[in-house]
Each structure stands twice: as structure tokens, then as C-alpha cells.
Amino acid sequence: MTRARWRFPLAAAVIILALQVGAGTQSPRPMGLVDLLNIPRVADPQVSPDGRDVVYTRADADWKVGRRVSHVWRARVGGDAVQLTNGTDGENGPRWSPDGKTIAFTAKRGDNESAQLYLMPVDGGEARQLTTHATAVSDLSWTPDSAALYFKAADAKTPDERARDRLKDDVYAYDENYKQTHLWKVNVASKAETKITDGDFSMTNYELSDDGRKVVYLRAPTPLLGSGDQSEVWIANADGSSALQLTKNTIQEGNAAISPDDSQVLFISGSNARLESYYNGRLFVVPAAGGAARVLVGENEPYDVDRAAWSKDGKSIYMLVNLGVHEELFVVPAAGGKPRQITDGRHSIGALSRSGDRLAFTISDSKSGGEVWTMAAGDAGPTQITHLFDYLARDFALGRQEVAQWKGADGTTVEGIVTYPVDYRAGQKYPLAVMTHGGPQAADKYSVGSSAYEIQVLAGKGYVSLQPNYRGSTGYGDTFLRDMIGHYFQNAHLDVIAGADELIRRGIVDRDRMVKMGWSAGGHMTNKVITATDRFKAAASGAGVAQWISMYAQSDIRAFRTPWFGGTPWQKGAPIEAYWNNSPLKDVANVKTPTIFFVGERDPRVPMPQSVEMYRALKSNGVPTHLYVAPREPHGWGELRHQLFKLNAEIEWFEKYATQRPFTWEKAPGDEKKDIKTSNDQAP
């Protein structure tokens, strides 16, 4: 009897649990490739004016359309998250109206050729289209009275240009066929649109003051990324009048924001107090009436300031600070002083926004892709709002993550993230995947991985992963960052190799089963490392550089690369030796490591010709290689099937050359029954 009485509730609990989590009664399984790609992405959390709700976008894999589609969701503490929008092509950039009655967002819907602004009542009903702008609308901001919104849009093509397009009379002037982007305002009641900035320049970024009276913006000669270093901070009345230039320098400013009393403007730049570039991120403040910009944080602290926001009272500034393997929330008095660290953890923080006295941001770690958290001014710490990623630790066997430290060739301490195999046993030696981050002005942190860096999938297959924050990474002080000045590869690649050696020394890694991989600057590094060592039995390199001379001209951004070599490759007396000596192609005759390359056909950053140079060099020298090209893709691949192909091809390559194990390609959802051969190496 007694047994029966407690048995029933337990059985019910099990059923409820099963209903909640689906296959939750099964033991955690290794993460597959599709599992990795199905992890949702959260962005743009925004606290409601009353501080109770948060809206954010959540993008989920849609295998039918082959990409992630983002929708607007709302959540509150302790409540379930609710999906608010359902458009086929998704929605972006949700913003609460200050009266709390309306959520604005952008979406491309119906027959529209570009994204328009939509308004949705908070208390029920569908969204209606507000703008019918000729070009795509983005970056929304409400006026304080909720009567109007600002947005950013590119100038429209002229009738003559449209006629030429129609006739396919479409030769275009390279780097000159852009349209300037400007700030607009649309009235909610009348739908009337007003152009706030105008002229032969681009308004690339803006922020409205809290009182709605001022607008601060970045003004650049063109909207091209390559002219970012020529952009300057301007402030104007909210109608665009009395525009005043606040900065005049050669550094790139970002994150410009006006203090609540309209007296100061903060911005962030990877520059030092003398306004020289190529430093860790500094927080600057400049008087709104004009004057010299001064560094508030970063000159004396080993911090890399990523984002900043004024507090509601304007007395302090909140900051996200990159500390290498983790990122934390700090606050600093607006008048200057010692920054105070608010959070501390094995995590990364992003997407900072403020509404009233409440901050919203995301926190990601080794088991989460970034939950939404909020924190009010008086709170001791942040509060977690969403639980999107709880299923990861529950459903999947995840590898443990920790930081390892080692010495570089010159004795400098270098660290990185180590992810262990899911069934790791001390004393056993495992294959190692060394993954190097992009940037190179970046740092790898605790994370669950990505389509580019599939750490947990590899952990499930028995690999140790090492993500070294090699010399040139941010968050370790300026000396560490600026090790690349004058040469690029000085200590950077040696740090990476030393990291692998350290894990061998610790008895974790089998020296005969090591692979090297990376994307972008991580691809540059991969290309360099295979010329410097035969330690790695296989390599995969995405969107990496072959040689800096041609790369310098081909890429859409150049100014930030100049310090690596001390000038342009085409100036009088060009430092061509520095360009060539640091080019992987120079030493490519040394390469023995079987290496596959990946590149997007439309990559403007590290364009396809770089990968073609590497591929043809290896091919011509008889090294096993393929170059996989993804149609339509830019620098980072976005289509799910392209990402899945990359993961399959890469792991198959590693298994073939480093672990000599068979590998079966994982199929896209819906393709399970299709017998499709994909890889060249699968062919008989």
C-alpha cells in the first residue's frame, strides 16, 4: 500500500519530465554536426520600459530554406518565452516604444524588395508596415514621445541606374558604386519620412540621446568598410541641424553614445591616448560641445573594452571588457576612476543594451550559446531571463573546458581554452585539434563552439581541442597584442605550436594524431603553421591568406593591416620583404601536411584568390589537398548545408589522415533516406 502511494506521483513526474524534454530519459549523447548547427542564436536583448520584459531575437536552423531564420521573442523572469513574430523571412532589431505599447522591428515581408519597419502592439494583434522606403531600413530608435522612429537607410538607385540594370548595361565602377547611407526619421501617425543627414558622406552608425534632443553619429566618406578609419564622431540636434564634428583623427571610432545630460559623448576605439591605432579597446570621452577626447579606461589597465553604455543617471559607464578567455561586465565613474568588475566567471558577455536603469546582455559559456540576463542599477548581480540552452547539458555529453597556460618561445605566458573528450580519462592520450581564432585582434573564450570551431563535436569523437590565444590576441595587454607589429608572424605561430607541445608534455595528447584548423586569421595561422612544422597530420584552413602582397589590395579593409608590415606594398620604397617573409606562400614548398581549404565565392575580406593560391601551390607540390568553394557565401558561411558540408569534409579529412578511422557523413535533416555522395574522398 505504502509503496503504491508514492509510486504514482513518481510515475507522473517521470511522464511530465518526458513531456517536457522529449527524449530526456535517454542518457546524454555525443553532439552531432546537425545538433551543433541546430543550436539557436540569441541577439539584441532589449528591456521593456517597465523593466519587466525582455524582447530579443532568436534564430533557429530552418533546414527547408537552408539557413537560420530569426524571430522576435519576449521573455520575463520565471516565465516562458513567447515567440511574437512568424514571418517567412524572419525579423530583426526589435525596439520597445518608450510608452511600452508597441514593439518596432524590421522585416522583409511579402513583395517588398527590402526590409521595412513594422509596428506591433504589445497587447495583441499583428504587426503593420510603417515605412515604404526605397531601400532597406535598419537600426531603429524611438523618439522619447513614441511618436516617431529614426532609422538608417542607403540612398536609392537613380532612375537611370535602374534603367541600366534592366538592360543589363551593368558594368560598374569598383569601390565607387556604393550608395551613401543616411539617417531618417518616420512619423508613426502620418508615415511621413524625413531625411536627417544628407550629403556626399555616409552616416554609418548613430545613437539618440535619452531626451531625444541630440543625435551622435559616425560620418565616413563612404559606406565601405575600407574607409572606416576616415570616419569621425559628429553630434547634431535631433533634426540634423547644428552638426558639430567632435573628432578629427586617423583612428576608427565605434559605439558613440551621448550622456543623459547631453554634455559628453563616449566612444570606443582600439587606439591609445595619442590616438594611434592598433591597441586594445579604450573607452574615450569627449565633451559634446567639442574638445579633446580623453581615455577613461584602458590606458593603464590591461583591458580590452568591447562595449560601453551610460548609466541612467550619467554618473557612471557600464562596460563589457575582454579579459582573454573570458569577458566581464564592469562599471567606471564617468568622471574617471578605478573600474569595478561586476561579474566574474568562465563565460563571455555580449549584446549590451540599456533601457531606463536596467541593462540587458547575453552570457554564454561552455554549455550555453548565450542566455539573456538583465541587471538593474542597484542589483548586486545579473538575473537570468531565458533558458534556451538548458537542453545542451541535459541532452549531450559535453567535454569539460578549462584554461591551460604555457610559455611562448620568448618565455611569455600564453593561455588557451582546452576542451577535453567527453569520456576523458587521465593517463590516456588523445588526438588533438588545434583551432586558432580569427581577427587576429580577438581572443577565444569559454564557449560551446560554432560551425567554424566544432569543439564539442570533436570532444564527442575523442579529440582534445586547444584554442590558443596566441600573440596578437586581445585582452592580454598592448605588448601582447602588438607583437605582430612589423611582421605579423613573430611569436604568434610559435605560441600555437608551443601550446600543442605543452599538451603533449602533460600526457594528454598523442603527438602522432594532431590536426590544425582555423578560419580567417585562424586560416592565416593554419597556412603558416603547416609551413613551419610537420607535427600536424592534417589541416583545414578556411578563408586564410596565402600572401600579404596580393591580399592587401584584394581585401575590403586595409588600414588595420598596414602596421603589420610598416607600409603599403605599393608605396615608394615599400617594405616588400616584410610582406613576403610573412606570407605562408613563401615557405609553401616545406608543406607536407595534407590540407583542405574552404572559401566563400563572395568573400570580400579574404577573397577566394588567396585560397586558390594556396591550393594550387600545394597541388603543384604534390601535397594532398582540396579547395572547397561555397557559392553565394561571404567571409563567414551562413547557409546550413554549406556549414554541414564544411564540418563533414573537415572531420573526414582529420579522420583519414590523423586518426585513420572511417567517417560517415552526417546528412541534413530530411535527407536521411537519400543516398548522396558528397565528398571527393568518398568516391571509390
Binding site: L167, W570, I576, P607, K619
Partner: protein, 680 residues
């Protein structure tokens, strides 16, 4: 076309024109516009019927709506008479036509498939329904079958992957091999003659239809042609065996009438060393070492075919500023020149065996490629068959073309073609446009030259520009040493040869030294890049698809094998001669450029990719040299869309007027077929 005159009468006139030029009635003639030039109908694929009585050919029209050339099939009696248009589809056909051996059927291609049409009346019907595009048709001698080549189709896996956009692809590894096929005309039954991974680059059926010679390479990649070999097999594909085993590319193969020997062309010397003037090799069909037929021959062979008697070989020969037909004794290599004139014998000519006549196209100063016949074994001059360019010659103002000669810096004789401005007056100096040919293993000749709308000399000369096309060092047709000047460092005498030519035209009073312009395409653009780094004499320049940086071009291009001798190795070999690559790169000295320079690049150019133009453009811009880089969507190495070509010419004419002419140029607008519906 209406005012067609008898071929024989016209022959005399045509010959006279060739000799004297056509400056006489210049004032009555209309100057060419860009649109007029773009709309000029051209002739393609002339084929003589087996009885020699009828010529079939394709003529082009310009479709501004589709933004491309459209080709239709025409027919014309060789004894005179009105040309008759045979096909009329809106999209046109592919300009390839073959007479059946009995002369009763015309075979041509439409939408990648072969059509057959009764020669004496009736509509065409589809012959093939192949999974991929069919090309290179050859009738069997009995007319019962047609051989052709076609690429292997994409597999159902590949098509399914494309459908779901699972379309990451392995670069340079997805090209399908081409195979040789045969289709029976009566039943439509297809038989595959070759199989396997080797690709058929070209083939030739013997005259008795019993044997086939094939050039097969490991992949269809441009660079792998040199790894290909010559094979012979029975007409059904049996008993295939390789005839050659070497590292050269065998091209334009032909089987002797008795099936005992093969000829082919290759860019090598008799020891098979690369980068020599193209010459003829003969190899026994049973196999053996190919022997170079000619020794100490100063010219370059463009095309060669066995004569019907099998004792000699007919060849078209590049002699620098003109090309001619030659007869070469197949044993002794003794040569006899069959034609002589201010013209270019366009490749693609053929011998109608039954009539012992060569049918060819001659590109001439006032006729840009009419079809002619040349009787073998007779000494009569060529006979012009078509009059496609009657109106051109009669009504349009065309420049006088003249060979000019000068000395290079090392006293080597250099020549080129000078196009005088329309209405040229002796003693007056004119702005000069120097046009640099591509290749560089090429030469500029009398006539329209390749890329009429890319170079638009009739418009330039109508606007008062003189045009010089120099056959600078590295050009073909002037012997091995001249050709091989580019080896081991690329730029040696090339730039100074061009500058010496400019000096010459200034000296003889034609060119205004203050209004010099240089332009070029491909190798001509690479040389343009180089010239603007070494001199400020040119007031404006335009370079299309040129090399900026040899170190990066090497990996980027689809063809390094052809260029292998330019430098002492590859940029990626151990101990690479990287200094030589860099020293020869225009980018190295780009800081010295002052000349306003326009750049053009095709978005899909595999030969000299867009990336090269980006390097040049961003470098010039950062030095504040006036420049634009105009990119042609969908275009490859040589642009083809008529609107893109007119845009390019407009942009250049404006640039030249602005920086070298001092005038204002008004852009020409091509017709807008949609304008009536409310377009601009």
C-alpha cells in the same frame, strides 16, 4: 546585301582595294559610331558544299534586348546570287555548320543539340537529344552517322545536391571529361566511342572513316592539356593506343589521307622544349617520335591540314602583320606561299576535298572577313564568295592601314600597323592611341583584328586619333628569338619596342607627342601597366584584364603551363625565384605612375582574374592617380555583352578626351528596346 554583285567582278575590285587602300571617297562615307560598329554583321563558319556549288555560313546580328549576338544560318551559291537566310529562331543558333557528304543535308547546332535540315528545302529537325551540349560534329563519309564530343553529364547525386543548394564544390575538380560519341542519323541511336577519366580535347576522323585520332588529357583543365597525348583508334573506338608520350600539347591534329601519318601543331622546337613558334609535327600513326616538318622557318603556323593528295600539307602562316596560306611538302618540308596580301587568314578554314578548294575567311582593311575560296594546285588568286562587307567597304569611312617599321633599342627591326585618322592630312599631327595585342604570343595584322568592338579603331580614327598596333618583342611571326624575348624575366625589350614605335611616329610627323594614349587587353594590358610605371609620356591609359603582380597571378590563373618559361620556376617551389617574379611585376613600381589609367576586368575571368585589377586599382587610387576599375558582371577574359563593350568604349573615349584630347565626349547610348514601354 541587296546590292550584291557577281563574285567574279567583285574579285578584281576586292583585290584592287587590298592593294590601294580605300582613302579615295572618304568624304562621302559615314564615320562609324560605336553602336554602328556593335551592330555590324559578321560571318562565321563558312563551309563549302561537297560539289563546291554552295556556301553555307552563319551571320551575326546584335540583339540589344538579349544583350548578345544572335547567329543565323545562311546559304549562297558560289557562282553568284543572293544569299538566303535559312534559320530564323529568336535566340539563334550556335555558329557551326557541316554539309553531309552527299550535300543533301545541313547539320548545325541549336541550344547545344544538333539539328539537321534538308539543303534543298524543308524545316530542321533535332538530331541529338544528348544529356549535355553536343559539339564538334563530323559526318561519317557515308553520311549515315555523325561523330561529336560531349561532356559527361552531372550525376543524379550532383543534380540533387544543386537542387537543395548543398552546393559547396571542389575547385578545379568538378569539370566533367568530354567523350567522343557517334549518332546514327536514321535512328538517332547514340554510341559512346571513348570512356573513362581522360578528356577528349579534340579528335579527327580519317577521310575513309575507318580511323580516329584523338587528343586526350587527364582532366579538362587548361593546364592539363600538356599532359595529354595523341591516340589513334578504330572508328568504333577499338584498338586505341597512344601515339605520343611527351610533355607538350598536341593541337589541331589531322590524319593523312592514307591513314599512315598524323600531323599536329605544338608551341615547341624539334626537341620538344617549350615556348617556340608554333610549328607542324608529323608522327607515324603506328607510333614513334614526332618529327618537326620545318626547320629554320621564321614564321608561326596557325593551322594545318593534309592536302587531298597526301603529299603536301596546307597551312596558314602568321608572318607578323599579315598571314598567308602555304603549301608544305610533307617529306622535304619545302614551302610554297599560295597567297599574298594585306590580310589575315582566319583560323577555321577547311578543304572541300572533292573540289580541291580551300574555303577561308580573309580579314582585310575594308572587309572584315568575307568568305573566299582558293583553288589548290592553281596559281589563280583567291576568289571572294560572299559580299557581307560590301556596304562596309562602300559606305563607311575606314582608315588607311599601313605597315610601319622602326628599330628597337637594340637596333632589332620592329613593325606594326598604323591606322591613319579618317581624313588624314600630311603634315598635321594627331593624337595617337597605341593598342597592344594580347598573347603575347600573337601579332597584330591588317584587317579588323580580334575584338573589333574592344578596339573600335574605326571609331577612334573617325574621331581623329591615329592608332598604332606594334608587334613588340614577344610577338609571333618574327622568329624564335623575337618570340622568346619574354622568357626568364618577361619584360626585356617589350616596353622599349613600344616606346620606340611611338618615337618613330612622332619623328615622321604623324603623332602629337603631347597627346599619346596607350591601351591593351590581357598581355597588352600587362604591358600597359608596365609602360605607365616607366614613362609619363602617355597622357591617358586603359588596361583590360592585365597582370599587376606575377607572384599572385601565378596561383590565380587557370593557365600557368603556357607561362612556365617566363620566370625561372614557380613562386611556390623550394628556392622560388621570387625576386624575378616581383621585379617583373608592374605593382612593384606603381608608386611612379602619373598617367590617368582606366582598368577593366570581367567578374568571371579565370585567365587574369579580377583580383589583379584590384591590386592595380587600389594601388593607383592610394597614390591619387586618376583611375576607375570597371567590372563587367558575367564577363570572362574577353568581354562579349554588346552593352558592356559599348560602355567600355564610351568610358575610354571619354577618358582619352578628358586627359589627352582636351575635348568633351558625349556618350553614345545603345538602343533601348523597352523604352517604348516607359523606360528612360
Amino acid at each position: 546585301m541587296k546590292a550584291y554583285r557577281g563574285a567574279f567582278a567583285c574579285l578584281v575590285l576586292g583585290w584592287t582595294v587590298l592593294v590601294s587602300g580605300n582613302a579615295s571617297h572618304a568624304q562621302n562615307r559615314r564615320p562609324f559610331t560605336l553602336v554602328g560598329l556593335a551592330e555590324l554583321s559578321r560571318l562565321f563558319s563558312p563551309q563549302l558544299s561537297p560539289d563546291g556549288a554552295t556556301l553555307a555560313y552563319f551571320a551575326s546580328t546584335t540583339d540589344w534586348k538579349a544583350n548578345r549576338l544572335v547567329f543565323h544560318l545562311w546559304r549562297q551559291p558560289t557562282t553568284g546570287g543572293t544569299p538566303q537566310q535559312l534559320t530564323f529562331t529568336e535566340g539563334g543558333d550556335q555558329p557551326v555548320v557541316r554539309w553531309s557528304p552527299d550535300g543533301k543535308t545541313l547539320l548545325f547546332a541549336r541550344g547545344g543539340q544538333f539539328m539537321v535540315m534538308p539543303a534543298d528545302g524543308g524545316e530542321a529537325r533535332a538530331l541529338t537529344n544528348h544529356a549535355t551540349a553536343a559539339a564538334a560534329p563530323t559526318w561519317s563519309p557515308d553520311g549515315a552517322a555523325v561523330y561529336f564530343t560531349a561532356a559527361d553529364p552531372r550525376t543524379s547525386d550532383e543534380r540533387e545536391r544543386d537542387r537543395v543548394r548543398d552546393d559547396v564544390f571542389a575547385f578545379d575538380e568538378t569539370l566533367k571529361p568530354r567523350q567522343l560519341w557517334k549518332i546514327v542519323v536514321s535512328t538517332g541511336a547514340e554510341t559512346q566511342i571513348t570512356t573513362g577519366p581522360l578528356t577528349v580535347n579534340e579528335y579527327r576522323l580519317s577521310q575513309d572513316g575507318r580511323r580516329i585520332a584523338v587528343q586526350r588529357a587527364p582532366t579538362p583543365l587548361e593546364d592539363d592539356a600538356r599532359r595529354g597525348e595523341l591516340w589513334v583508334m578504330d572508328a568504333g573506338g577499338e584498338n586505341a593506343r597512344a601515339v605520343t608520350n611527351n610533355s607538350i600539347e598536341e593541337r589541331l591534329i589531322d590524319i593523312s589521307p592514307d591513314n599512315s601519318q598524323l600531323l599536329f601543331l605544338a608551341d615547341t622546337n624539334e626537341r620538344f622544349e617549350p615556348y617556340y613558334p608554333t610549328t607542324v609535327f608529323i608522327v607515324p600513326a603506328a607510333g614513334g617520335t614526332p618529327r618537326a616538318l620545318l626547320s629554320d622557318f621564321r614564321y608561326t603556323i596557325d593551322q594545318a591540314l593534309w592536302a587531298p593528295d597526301g603529299r603536301s600539307i596546307i597551312a596558314s602562316v602568321n608572318m607578323g602583320v599579315h598571314s598567308e596560306l602555304f603549301e608544305i611538302d610533307a617529306r622535304s618540308g619545302r614551302t610554297r606561299q599560295l597567297t599574298d596580301g594585306t590580310h589575315f587568314v582566319a583560323p577555321g578554314w577547311s578543304i572541300a576535298a572533292g573540289t580541291r578548294k580551300i574555303v577561308c575567311q580573309l580579314d582585310e582593311p575594308a572587309r572584315f572577313g568575307d568568305a573566299w575560296t582558293v583553288a589548290l594546285g592553281e596559281s589563280s588568286p583567291p576568289t571572294r564568295v560572299t559580299g557581307l562587307f560590301d556596304a562596309l567597304e562602300r559606305d563607311m569611312a575606314l582608315p588607311r592601314q599601313e605597315k610601319v617599321e622602326w628599330k628597337g633599342a637594340d637596333e632589332a627591326p620592329i613593325e606594326g600597323i598604323l591606322f591613319y585618322p579618317i581624313g588624314y592630312e600630311a603634315g598635321r599631327r594627331y593624337p595617337l592611341v597605341v593598342q597592344l595585342h594580347s598573347g603575347p604570343m600573337e601579332s597584330d595584322k591588317f584587317g579588323a583584328g580580334p575584338g573589333l568592338l574592344l578596339n573600335y579603331f574605326p571609331v577612334l580614327t573617325a574621331k581623329g586619333y591615329a592608332v598604332l598596333r606594334p608587334n613588340y618583342r614577344g610577338s609571333a611571326g618574327y622568329g624564335a628569338a623575337f618570340l622568346r624575348d619574354v622568357n626568364n624575366g618577361y619584360f626585356h625589350s617589350m616596353p622599349t619596342d613600344v616606346l620606340a614605335g611611338v618615337d618613330h611616329l612622332v619623328k615622321i610627323g604623324v603623332a602629337d607627342p603631347d597627346r599619346l594614349i596607350v591601351m591593351g587587353i590581357s598581355a597588352g594590358a600587362t604591358l600597359t601597366h608596365k609602360l605607365v610605371t616607366i614613362t609619363d609620356r602617355f597622357k591617358a591609359a586603359s588596361a583590360s584584364a592585365g597582370v599587376a603582380n606575377w607572384t599572385s597571378l601565378w596561383g590565380q590563373t587557370d593557365n600557368t603551363a603556357f607561362r612556365a618559361t617566363y620566370f625561372r620556376g614557380t613562386p611556390w617551389q623550394a628556392g622560388a625565384p621570387i625576386d624575378q617574379f616581383w621585379a617583373s611585376s608592374p605593382l612593384k613600381d606603381v608608386a611612379d605612375v602619373k598617367t590617368p589609367t582606366l582598368l577593366f576586368a570581367g567578374e568571371n575571368d579565370a585567365r587574369v582574374p579580377l583580383a589583379q585589377a584590384q591590386e592595380m586599382f587600389r594601388a593607383l587610387r592610394s597614390h591619387n592617380v586618376p583611375t576607375h576599375l570597371y567590372v563587367g558582371p558575367r564577363e570572362g577574359h574577353l568581354w562579349t555583352d554588346p552593352r558592356h563593350l559599348v560602355f567600355k568604349a564610351n568610358a575610354e573615349l571619354e577618358w582619352f578626351a578628358k586627359y589627352a584630347g582636351g575635348g568633351v565626349y558625349v556618350w553614345e547610348k545603345p538602343p533601348d528596346p523597352g523604352a517604348a514601354r516607359g523606360g528612360s
